[in-house]
Amino acid sequence: MTVTVILVLVGLLALAGLLVLAKGHVGSTANVENLTEQLRSVDVEAFRNLVDPGEEQFLRANLPGSEFRKIQRERMLAAIEYVSCAARNGAILTRVGDAARHSPEPSMAAAGEKLVDTAIRLRLYAFHAMATLYLGLVLPGVRISPVGIAESYEQMTRLVVLLGCFQHAPQGVAAAL
């Protein structure tokens, strides 16, 4: 009987979850026009600095153990904030890229395609990086190196810029490339 009650509750919760997720999907489709207003600037250099193994090595060598763990924990929290912000931008730009790849202008459609691809890779890296950073937060002594995220973010930013160029002067930029 207990299993039955649990299954009934799971079924009802799954229904509620599906409806919430579906509502989110419908809302996200409706608000494509206001997407870029939600983008937030990310300082990639500051992020690189936070996850730089050399920097960590320096702090480890020059600070007492307890002090190092405290500072490292704060550095990890800041890095998590950067990664989640970059990942959020990635999600927004996936949708912007999706809209761009339906453009009748071939160069813009191609840039949109690349943007979607890069933004998705960024989300994949971000997922991995978040797990690594949380591990670093729980165990400050463990070495972490969330590779790929900074490079991927920079590549994505470049693609957004190119997309902007295509949008405003498609022929000129295509020729320049």
Partner: protein, 253 residues
């Protein structure tokens, strides 16, 4: 009592009539090229209804024969629903090659884990009641619903995390199927633990759910597709440094 009988007949007949109409409309729109399994599922549901309806009205068909036909139909219908979920999965992911490998692997592993969970549940709560065949069908339905509900939740969560866009009809098919699977999970769980003659209210609820899901499918499949357009104000202009670097790179070329 008579009006309740009419309601039941209506709840059983009306969705299948609508399914037949939907089938014709989708065939006319050449939808079978994109969603052959979904169309087969709708076609099978209509066919199953016709066969069961004729068997129920026929005096030469015994109750046992009817229930065997019903059980076979339920198994085939559940299998086709798995096919439809796979079809939705391939449609969502085919536009995102970067996710192809990861998505497929995660989808497979989720299916394996859910299958193990469903088997554990079948072992822990094997079902009660005197109607052996009906109890077996309910336990099977419950296991199938655990799998289908879990796979659809995974699909929605995964595509939500990566902000993947769905064609509206693909979304409609998944939503309808998800609502059906989650309510079927709750209802089949109760039904597997009680006597078959006490299940009429639950059967009515399930038929009502099927009707509602069909209306969702009709809404999404027959409504015109809305494409997202990139407005000129959309692209960010605040990242001036990156703009500058990129322009310099272009000029140097």
């Amino acid at each position: 009592m008579l009006s309740l009988d009419y309601l039941r007949t209506y709840l059983w007949t009306a969705p299948h009539l609508l399914q037949a109409i939907l089938l014709v409309l989708l065939i006319r729109r050449v939808f079978y090229k994109q969603f052959p399994i979904f169309l087969s599922y709708i076609g099978f549901e209509v066919l199953q209804f016709v066969v069961l309806f004729v068997m129920l009205r026929s005096r030469s068909v015994s109750g046992g024969e009817y229930y065997y036909a019903f059980a076979l139909g339920s198994v085939a219908s559940a299998s086709l629903r798995f096919g439809v979920i796979y079809e939705v999965f391939t449609h969502v992911f085919r536009n995102y090659p970067a996710l192809g490998g990861v998505g497929s692997a995660l989808f497979r592993w989720t299916a394996v884990l859910l299958l193990l969970l469903a088997l554990c549940l079948a072992w822990l709560a094997p079902g009660e009641g005197t109607g052996h065949l009906m109890v077996m069908i309910d336990v099977l339905n419950r296991s199938v619903s655990v799998l289908q509900c879990g796979l659809l939740l995974f699909l929605f969560l995964f595509s939500g995390y990566f902000a993947l866009s769905w064609r509206s009809y693909v979304f409609g098919i998944a939503l309808g199927l998800g609502i059906y699977a989650s309510l079927d999970l709750a209802i089949a769980s109760i039904r597997s633990q009680i006597e078959p003659r006490e299940t009429s209210l639950l059967n009515d609820m399930m038929m009502g759910t099927g009707f509602a899901c069909l209306l969702i499918w009709m809404f999404y499949l027959l409504a015109p597709e809305r494409e997202a357009q990139l407005a000129s104000k959309e692209l960010p202009t605040h990242d001036l440094e990156t703009w500058n670097q990129e322009l310099q790179r272009l000029i140097q070329k």
